[in-house]
């Protein structure tokens, strides 16, 4: 009879559920949210565990990090924790966990080696190559045959472009495990990069050397011809000056000339150059003070004469600024300025550029010879020349 009593009692109890709601039930509308808050059913752990909001989770966490357990166990759980974070790609948290594990200073050196190796991996994926390498090195110190650590170390060296060291790591690893494919691949890659980097260095060196040789040849050519270069203002330091670390073999004055002699103000960056036949080509400026105009000839062959260029420039069409239409080749007069003395010299237009540059009174300013052009007997010309001391360039 007693049995049927309790059965009855049970039935009644169960009946109640059909009609009454139980206390602390999950809310119908947001039961999924609430579900997530129960530690057992959480899909992901919250970033920070606030003991006030999530007391149950905080409790569990404190159990895990209970200081009463032996350090080896604590370190192991920290390792596992780190691994979990790692799987979620939460590398920062993983590092924190591994670091905590290492702080326990437990006596299990294999475990510590793993902690270092795993932390190295986390650093690696965060791009902290130096930290990763340090950790891999530490791991290897603890366990010299830890292949994962060796592979990681080699990878770090590769990322740091330290190919020689990468090779060393690979060879160490291959000594322990000669058939390890990953190491062999890494080694081949490191070797290849190393040799490519060496080639690049050689190539760069050859380029610098060639530039220097070319520059020396240029300076020699200019000097041979007796052409004077005026040092420009100190402000205009060309890119040449940075490379000119003690121009080997060049005399001090040549070096000084080299510093500024070839800098040009021209945006085109045109410079005098020596062609394969040993002929110099200069950038030349023609100045027309009457109309404040200029013409820039980027490569005036030293053997060409001025009239050659003037005929081409003014022969067919006169420039638009020449409102009086008087700048015909046969009317033009050419002058150079002697900046030192402040005199003006008339140049024979039938002469070659070279012969003019070689003249004792001529010096090239900032690597660009410049010439003033006026129209013979024009009012402006007369005015201009009256102000200056004019000579004829012989």
């Amino acid at each position: 009879m007693a049995q049927s009593d309790s059965d009855d009692g049970m039935d009644e109890f169960m009946e109640k559920f059909k009609t009454q709601k139980y206390k602390n039930a999950l809310n119908e509308s947001n039961w999924e949210e609430e579900f997530e808050k129960v530690p057992m059913f959480m899909k992901t752990a919250p970033e920070e565990i606030d003991p006030l909001k999530n007391p149950d989770l905080a409790c569990i966490q404190s159990i895990i990090h209970d200081d009463d357990r032996p350090p080896e166990e604590q370190a192991k759980s920290l390792k596992d924790e780190g691994n979990e974070y790692f799987k979620e790609k939460n590398y920062k948290k993983a590092i924190v966990a591994y670091t905590e594990g290492l702080k326990k200073n437990c006596s299990d050196s294999d475990l510590n080696a793993i902690l270092y190796t795993n932390r190295a991996a986390a650093h690696f994926y965060l791009g902290n190559m130096r930290s990763a390498l340090n950790d891999a090195t530490a791991a290897r110190k603890l366990k010299s045959d830890h292949i994962k650590a060796i592979i990681r170390g080699a990878q770090c060296c590769m990322e740091l472009h330290n190919y020689a060291e990468a090779l060393q790591w690979c060879d160490e690893g291959l000594r322990i495990l000669p058939t390890e494919k990953k190491l062999q691949e890494l080694r081949a890659k490191a070797d290849k990069q190393k040799r490519a980097a060496e080639r690049d260095a050689r190539k760069a060196k050859a380029k610098v050397k060639k530039e220097r040789t070319d520059r020396d040849a240029l300076l020699t050519a200019v000097k041979e011809r007796g052409i004077k270069l005026m040092p420009g203002q100190r402000q205009h330091r060309s890119s040449d000056s940075e490379e000119d670390d003690g121009a080997e073999g060049s005399a001090a004055d040549m070096a000084e000339l080299n510093l500024d002699g070839f800098s040009t103000q021209e945006a085109t960056g045109a410079k005098v150059y020596l062609d394969e036949q040993g002929v110099l080509h200069w950038p030349v400026l023609f100045l027309y003070p009457e109309y404040r105009q200029t013409d820039f000839i980027s490569a005036f062959c030293e053997n060409s004469s001025f009239i050659d260029h003037l005929t081409v420039m003014f022969g067919e069409e006169l420039p638009p600024w020449d409102t009086d239409k008087k700048y015909c080749p046969q009317n033009l007069q050419l002058f150079i300025e002697d900046h030192e003395k402040g005199h003006i010299y008339e140049v024979d237009v039938t002469k070659s550029l070279l012969s003019v540059l070689q003249h004792t009174r001529c010096s090239v300013k900032q690597g660009t010879p410049s010439f003033i052009i006026l129209v013979k007997d024009s009012p402006f010309c007369k005015q201009f020349l009256s102000d200056e001391k004019v000579h004829l360039l012989k």
Partner: protein
Amino acid sequence: MLSEGEAAELLSFLQSDTRPDVKGGATEYLLGLTGTRDGCRYLRTKPDFLRALLTLTSDPSIAIVKDCYHALINLSADETLHKPLLQEAEFLPTLFRNLLDPEYPFSDRVCTILTNLSRHQPTCRQVFLSLQQQDVSLAKIVEIFCTEGANQSASLHYLGPLLSNLTQLPETRQFILDKERCVIQRLLPYTQYEASVTRRGGVIGTLRNCCFEHAYHEWLLSDAVDILPFLLLPLAGPEELSDEENEGLPVDLQYLPEDKKREEDPDIRKMLIETLLLLTATKAGRQIMKQKNVYPIMREFHKWEKEPQVISACEKLVQVLIGDEPEAGMENLMEVEIPEEVEQKLKDQDDKEKEQIEKEEQELLKEEKKKHQSESPEGLER
């Protein structure tokens, strides 16, 4: 030589517990014996003396140890002594044990003896078998060879020619050419090892012997090994090549500096060219070498080389590099069957060429290379 009585007396002086000064005198005398051919031959019949020498290499007196090793080196340089030496059961094991000891100060002498012993194939095989029995792997030898400072007091350069000798055996070649491991790749940088001609020569000899395995040629020339630059670098000079020629070369040969020196030893230069020639045996190999622009390097080399033998080898190589492909069925030059009359003709040509070269050599008044007996002649022939 010595009478029976004299021999017995001398032997008694060579015991470990003999007075040092007497011991020293006796070993010195023995060393003197080994300096002559007759002396060596005499000792062939005296295993007791050989054993005594071996035992005394552990003597506390360094002078005695040095003399003993010196004597053993002399003996091992004589081929007829190989069998008697190897009959001493402890001979090879002792040597190997000392070789692997990173602190052993006489490892270089040990290497020299082993190199001498391995020069000829029969004893080479014995040396190899003993290596295996003593559980000394070829891997270990390669490892200490390739590790800087593996031994503080010995340079271990003679491991090079030892390795080269051991490659007379197919087992060694198989080991070095193992695709699953990284062996030959570690040896390659030593083709340019300036500090020791012995080490360089040994490595290049090893590479040359391995190149007889033409099944491996494609792999050797591929990126996995990339043997070509290491063979060409010692032959390449400082001459400036055009940008176009440079860009077509293997990376290591591009933009060489103006102080680049070529290999100084003509025998080594010849071996390098022979190795390159071996690599042209297969069609695939020839294609790769043509494609990698080897020709300009050999062109400049030919202008520079003075030794007739090396020039001749160079010309052979160039001929293959710029020549046409052989007809179908003859692509692998090593497998071609040569009809008898052709073979005879080629032999006659070879003989004539040899005469010509010898003439040229005499005209050059080359200095005779003296090979001391105490230094092992390199066993670099196959």
